[in-house]
């Protein structure tokens, strides 16, 4: 069934211009180089457990060391604009309303009303029922090139039947979402049912397809805080990439431990190694807890030194954040004016 589905849609899918190495369609299986890895539940398990281990202390030390990079003047200006352009400006509250979403969209298109040179954010990230509102607001406000991302698959817990998750996804896709942020079934992952997680990601990937235009890109959220170990995060990264994720994402922002430099570093290493193994480039999105310009620059330094130029683009790296944007704007104003800015000089969300 998977194969038929893919064949049917393959001719209709166009390669995104900005994603030269991205797969053209939901892959019929894992990339050819690693096809054996997903041949069976046992094979997948062996593959994931055969990945090199992660030494937690060494990993954290490396992340901390990269965190000591001092990014000043021109480099800082570059990094701030790059960070702004990588933001998935997010609101995922029970209290979200169309008004709130429209305001967020306006901000995403014109982050700093006093300075039109500020780049737009990459995307607005909302619940599925707000996708249409967001799309309309963006289009109306000059933000046609700003994506709409929607969480789906019973976000944030993922505790629903596959059918419900797929319906959730199709709903968001149909409403015009460019990107779907799905959550994996952490229960299945932690109990070792990797194939279940794999199949679910593939199914959602298929639900991201649509006939009328480019498929929605799929971001796969692991909820690193619940996976708990770096070894698990590395395995989840490979599992998701084998299943066709376009982007792997750290967390929902709804649990105690979200993105950290160290757990993001594991994922950066994974996408680096995955491209080396398969030729397929996958993006990374840390989300949750990244609130300051300084934090975001630390992440960009990691991307720069672990992955390099190829990933220093909103197609390949995103920040899932809300309050981060204002701090970036204040830092940007400081660079422009030479004096420190304050919260009254940026817009409240």
């Amino acid at each position: 069934m998977t194969v038929c589905y893919a064949r049917r849609y393959a001719p209709l899918v166009t390669m995104p211009a900005s994603s030269p190495t991205a797969p053209a369609a939901p892959p019929p299986a894992a990339p050819p180089a690693l096809a054996d890895a997903t041949a069976s539940d046992a094979a997948l398990r062996r593959f994931l457990h055969g990945l090199p281990g992660v030494d937690a202390v060494g990993l954290e030390a490396r992340a901390a060391q990269l965190g000591t990079r001092s990014i000043k003047t021109t480099a800082k200006a570059y990094a701030i604009d790059l960070a702004i352009s990588m933001i998935d400006l997010t609101t995922l509250e029970g209290a979200d309303t169309p008004g709130k979403v429209r305001a967020l969209c306006a901000k995403g298109v014109n982050p700093d009303p006093t300075d039109r040179t500020v780049p737009k954010v990459a995307a607005i990230c909302v619940y599925p029922d707000m996708v249409a509102t967001a799309r309309q607001a963006l289009d109306a406000g000059g933000g046609q090139d700003v994506k709409v991302a929607s969480v789906a698959t019973a976000f944030p817990s993922g505790r629903a039947e596959l059918g419900v998750k797929l319906a959730d996804t199709r709903d968001a896709v149909a409403a015009g979402a460019d990107e779907i942020d799905m959550v994996i079934d952490r229960g299945a992952f932690l109990s070792g049912r990797y194939m279940k997680v794999f199949e679910e990601i593939r199914a959602v990937k298929q639900a991201c397809a649509r006939a009328d235009r480019e498929d929605a890109h799929l971001k796969v959220i692991f909820e690193n805080g619940e996976l708990s170990t770096y070894d698990n995060i590395r395995r989840a990264s490979w599992l998701a990439m084998l299943a066709g994720a376009d982007v792997i994402k750290t967390s929902t922002g709804k649990v105690a431990v979200n993105a950290t430099p160290a757990n993001t570093l594991v994922m950066l290493e994974a996408v680096r190694d995955f491209r080396a193994a398969t030729g397929t480039q996958v993006g990374v999105k840390p989300a949750g807890g990244i609130r300051t310009a300084k934090d975001s620059i630390r992440y960009l330094v990691m991307v720069n030194e672990v992955l390099g130029d190829d990933w220093l683009h909103p197609d390949w790296f995103r920040f899932g954040a809300s309050s981060l944007l204002n701090d970036l704007l204040m830092q940007r104003q400081k660079l422009t004016t030479g004096r420190y800015s304050g919260p009254d000089y940026v817009t409240v969300d």
């Binding site: 937690a56 202390v57 060494g58």
Partner: protein
């Protein structure tokens, strides 16, 4: 030697005693000196006791080879095992107490009672060190609370092949007191016996050979201390040297030679050593290396 048979009186035929041929102890075997040389050993009054091998630099070399060969096994044995073997040495020595009493009396010019007391002390010293084998690591090692997420453990390990110049005066108790602390931690030893009174040392080798001590762990050479010690001090495959049996001039010379491969050097004590005193742990600690192992602590 000392067990001369005497007249039993009258016209009865006297039995001629069987004199022992003293040999070196190298690699668990009892070779003669490769040089074919011997020297006459006398008691303190000048009466001949026996001939002893006059070991050469080549004997020293062979002994180092044997000691190196034995190092892996001995240092890799469990501390419990080494402790039992040292205790076994005490048992074997106890069984030959009379023989050693006579040898020590002759070698050191002591009364039988005093010699017996020294032999007893030597036996007890083996027992004391036998008990140290599985404690020195705990006493001298331990965990270090480093300021970071690391498990950090320091452990004393044997230095390697140790050349031991046994004290010149105390032929058995002194010898045991310098030898036992070397081997208890897993080192192997090349012992240069007291030049003037080597016979108890050479006899001790017979005890060692029957005490489950692997061949080569202890090698005993007799002869001229300076002649044997000089190549040992310069030998690149000797890791440490105990200069107890060297006089000041020789000790300086040997320490200088030992610098060539940075041997650990235990200098001779200033005063005449009282071998009956509590030995303490200094000798054991002079021939161990502290190894510190780090490992991250993380899930």
């Amino acid at each position: 030697m000392s067990e001369q048979s005497g007249n039993t009186g009258g016209a009865a035929r006297t039995r001629l005693g069987v004199a022992k041929t003293y040999k070196l102890f190298v690699g668990g075997k009892f070779p003669r000196s490769e040089s074919g040389r011997v020297y006459e050993v006398t008691d303190t009054r000048g009466n001949r006791l026996a001939n002893a091998p006059l070991a050469s630099r080549k004997d020293a070399r062979d002994a180092v080879v044997a000691a190196r060969k034995a190092f892996g096994g001995w240092s890799g044995a469990t501390a419990y095992n080494r402790g039992q073997i040292l205790y076994r040495i005490a048992e074997m020595l106890e069984g030959r107490r009379e023989q050693f009493t006579a040898e020590v009396a002759a070698a050191e010019g002591l009364s039988k009672a005093k010699a017996a007391a020294r032999v007893d002390a030597a036996i007890d010293r083996w027992v004391w060190y036998a008990g140290w084998s599985d404690k020195i690591t705990q006493v001298a090692g331990g965990a270090n609370p480093v300021a970071g997420p690391y498990f950090n453990l320091s452990t004393p390990e044997p230095t390697g092949v140790v050349a031991v110049l046994a004290p010149q005066e105390s032929s058995l108790l002194g010898l045991v007191s310098v030898l036992a602390p070397v081997i208890v931690s897993g080192n192997t030893a090349v012992v240069v016996a007291s030049e003037r009174a080597p016979l108890p040392a050479l006899s001790l080798a017979e005890v060692l050979a029957t005490s489950d001590l692997p061949g080569g762990v202890v090698n005993v050479l007799s002869g001229r201390t300076a002649e044997i010690a000089t190549p040992l001090a310069a030998h690149a495959d000797v890791n440490a040297i105990d200069l107890t049996g060297a006089d000041a001039d020789l000790a300086r010379e040997l320490e200088t030679a030992a610098a060539d491969n940075l041997k650990r050097v235990l200098r001779p004590a200033d005063a005449t050593s009282d071998w009956s005193a509590d030995p303490g742990v200094k000798r054991m600690l002079s021939f161990v290396e502290t190894k510190t192992v780090w490992h991250p602590v993380g899930v």
